[in-house]
């Protein structure tokens, strides 16, 4: 076929343009710098995430030859088309469609979780809606607040189905589906079960793409405020790696600005007694995990070993592949390690009754809330972690306390559980955990210094990646997957005996924790995720120490308290077990 046959010509607002066959009107318009408003459309193609249901019709444009209104996000350019994006008909068409969506939408914007972060609201502003000419019958669905992770308010759903795309096509969890039809149709769980009764992993990817307040994280900040105001409690907080690379976006910083120091000061201002670093837990996790990996390789035990720091991924394997529960590492996640050590190591050192400690974590993640609530993650009936707030919730708390974030000085983490290396910084991105583990495993196995710490083959954003690393005469085969749909492929291979990996890193969210369900909303802009990712690699590069096993405070912890990596005490406190769950 000649190139010319693959191209089509059209005009958009009088500008002629030739595009490849199959290009949508929306994409063609963008090429000539013409913006068309969209709502249901979502395109994160680099992560394999595309929602193209053409449900909302907010993106209609006029085609002059036929005088038809066409949904530009889905309609492909045909030779000779004459598109008008700004004709009266197009403008009125978009407005009418939006007004219809608004006609039965709850009008509680001022108190809605998504206030000023809602795409429906911004669109009403952008399209200059001053009056809603239709009065629709409002929906009356109960709000689902039954799970630890996700709050679901169906009354705010506009049926864009982005969440359905995420849950089914990208994550292959399959908890959300459109039910019924016509006016009665809703996005819901099977049989309208409470989310807490389903196989939801709480990855929160539905939350991160929901344009309205229909899906949000459970709000745990009131509990944290209460703890902070209780004089009898020591309230201790930890901050995950990906938080520092994203929280700035809530305060007007460029995406990918690392703001560790300000976050620490902000937390101290809020009244936390100690501010610890989840990165400390990450370094510790690496040491335990690398020890386990070496033991599994040398002892010819179950391989591959899968990383276990992502709680959504752990939920996923428990529900979907209960026959494979011996493949994940038994290590608890960094969040849980810092939690349990605060309630044991810190408590003993400082003579504090663990009952008087409230452990809070700030996470980029919704699933961390559910992880903290898992029954087995406790000691003597005390949870390792009590409350989890997301990056977004912390930003709101800082604003609520009238703290001027931009003016905060750079603070330092408290000692004991506050040091970290570059290896732990990259925990927040896909590929980072396994790169950090490789750095440590290499030196543990060979006893030699690893000079080149950058494993570039493990980096990137392709959904599934592979890397081979030579460690003396062992060739270590490493797999990496992010997004649960990609994880599923890897698990199917393992189940069918087709996998020859030694170690595999899995993160549930596209991009890893930087794209977590609790992060500032990216509103479909994938550049934001890439910037956050780059920021973490830069942070790693800037650190004086870049191997987890060089973290002095971690080494101190082993010496004072745990003994050796993989010791009995380490197992008692830092490891866990998984249990099979039903798939609904």
């Amino acid at each position: 076929m000649k190139l010319i046959d693959k191209m089509v010509q059209c005009s958009i607002n009088g500008i002629n343009i030739t595009v490849e066959k199959g290009t949508t009107i929306l994409d063609a318009a963008e090429k000539v710098g013409i913006h068309i408003p969209t709502l249901c459309h979502l395109n994160l193609a680099d992560f394999g995430v595309v929602n193209k249901n053409a449900n909302c019709r907010v993106c209609v444009v006029e085609e002059e030859n036929s005088h038809k209104l066409l949904p530009s996000c889905a309609e492909k350019v045909v030779d000779g088309m004459k598109i008008q994006t700004d004709s009266l008909k197009a403008v009125m068409g978009r407005r009418t469609n939006l007004e219809l969506l608004l006609s039965n939408h709850p009008q509680d914007c001022l108190t809605c979780v998504k206030n000023l972060d809602c795409e429906l609201q911004s669109l009403a502003h952008e399209l200059n809606i001053k009056e809603i000419h239709y009065q629709g019958e409002k929906m009356q669905h109960p709000v689902d607040l039954t799970s630890f992770g996700i709050a679901k308010d169906t009354n705010k759903c506009i049926m864009c189905r982005r969440c359905v795309t995420m849950c089914n096509d990208i994550q292959t969890v399959g908890v959300l589906s459109p039910l019924k039809r016509g006016f009665d149709s809703v996005v819901a769980t099977a049989f309208h079960l409470d989310l807490g009764q389903t196989s939801c992993t709480y990855c929160g990817q539905c939350v991160s793409v929901c344009p309205t307040g229909a899906l949000a994280e459970m709000n745990d900040s009131p509990k944290v405020w209460r703890a902070l105001n209780n004089p009898n409690k020591k309230v201790i907080v930890q901050v995950a790696p990906a938080v520092r690379a994203a929280i700035g976006e809530e305060f007007g910083y460029e995406a990918g600005t690392i703001l560790t120091g300000k976050v620490v000061s902000g937390l101290k201002r809020l009244g936390f007694d100690e501010v610890y670093d989840t990165n400390f837990g990450a370094d510790l996790t690496i040491i335990e995990e690398a020890t386990e990996l070496i033991e599994r390789i040398q002892g010819e035990k179950t391989l591959p070993m899968l990383t276990s720091c992502c709680p959504a991924w752990v939920q996923f394997i428990e529900h979907q592949f209960p026959e494979l529960l011996d493949v994940p590492s038994s290590c608890k996640s960094p969040q849980q390690m810092v939690g349990i050590l605060t309630k044991t190591y810190y408590a003993e050192k400082n003579n504090v009754d663990p009952k008087d400690i409230v452990m809070v974590s700030v996470m980029p993640c919704v699933a961390k809330k559910a992880e903290a609530a898992r029954e087995e993650l406790n000691k003597d009936g005390l949870s390792d972690v009590d409350y989890v707030v997301t990056t977004r919730e912390l930003a709101k708390m800082i604003k609520e306390a009238a703290i001027d974030f931009k003016k905060l000085p750079d603070g330092n983490f408290n000692k004991l559980l506050g040091e970290s290396t570059g290896a732990s910084a990259i925990f927040g991105t896909t590929g980072g955990v396994i790169e950090a583990a490789t750095r440590t495993a290499y030196e543990m196995i060979t006893g030699k210094e690893l000079k080149q710490v950058n494993f570039k083959q493990m980096r990137g954003i392709e959904g599934i990646r592979e890397a081979k690393v030579k460690i003396d005469d062992l060739e270590l085969n490493i797999g990496i997957a992010h997004g649960l749909g990609n994880a599923r492929k890897i698990l199917e291979d393992i189940r069918d005996g087709k996998s020859n990996f030694h170690a595999i890193e899995i993160m549930a969210c596209p991009g890893g924790c930087i794209g977590g369900g609790g992060q500032p909303y990216h509103h479909g802009d994938i550049e934001i995720l890439k910037k956050r990712q780059k920021a973490l690699y830069d942070l790693d590069k800037s650190m004086p120490k870049r191997k987890s096993h060089e973290n002095e405070m971690v080494l101190q912890l082993y010496e004072d308290y745990l003994g050796k990596p993989g010791s009995h005490k380490a197992h008692e406190l830092l490891h866990t077990a998984y249990s099979a769950k039903e798939r609904i």
Partner: protein, 171 residues
């Protein structure tokens, strides 16, 4: 607490065997045959209780939500037991203004059954439905495949009597 939906033991074993046999004969990606399988399941069990839907989901390697989505999309499928005769009274605008509510009331009182429920003798299920596209005949009610137009509340007596009569003949 074990969720009732997860409890498959309440499903008739022989019927399940028959359903399994049907599913085993399907080739290729079994999930693609969902609608056929649901038809078969409803034919066997009379309706599609939730645990049966989940059973089908697992057999076809689909999510429960997907199966439930399809079941609730097509009005042909019933999630609740249905009577031998399904009476649908149209509540569309045309029918409503011509007194469909009175018709429904009469149906309910004669069968001693509320809408969306099944009569005690298992004979009738009552539904109110949206416009069925026969507005010229308003008010309209249907019993299984048969359409009754311009129904007056008094006509309902005769219609119900007719179906009761059919039963007596059969017995």
């Amino acid at each position: 607490m074990k969720n009732k939906i997860l409890d498959m033991t309440t499903l008739d074993k022989t019927l399940l065997k028959e359903l399994d046999a049907y599913i085993n004969l399907l080739d290729g990606d079994k999930g693609e045959h969902l609608i056929h399988v649901l038809h078969k399941a409803q034919e066997l069990f009379g309706y599609l209780p939730q645990n049966l839907q989940l059973y089908v989901a697992r057999k076809l390697d689909l999510s429960g939500a997907r199966v439930n989505g399809v079941v609730t999309f097509y009005s042909f499928f019933n999630e609740e037991p249905v009577g031998k005769y399904k009476i649908s009274v149209c509540m569309g605008t045309a029918c409503f203004v011509k007194g469909a509510d009175k018709v429904l009331e009469r149906v309910e009182s004669l069968t001693k059954t509320k809408k969306n429920e099944i009569s005690e003798d298992g004979l009738f299920t009552i539904k109110d439905v949206r416009c069925i596209g026969a507005c010229g005949l308003a008010p309209v009610m249907t019993v299984n495949d048969k359409v009754y137009g311009k129904v007056k509340p008094n006509d309902v007596d005769e219609i119900i009597r007719y179906y009761r009569g059919l039963e007596d003949e059969n017995n």
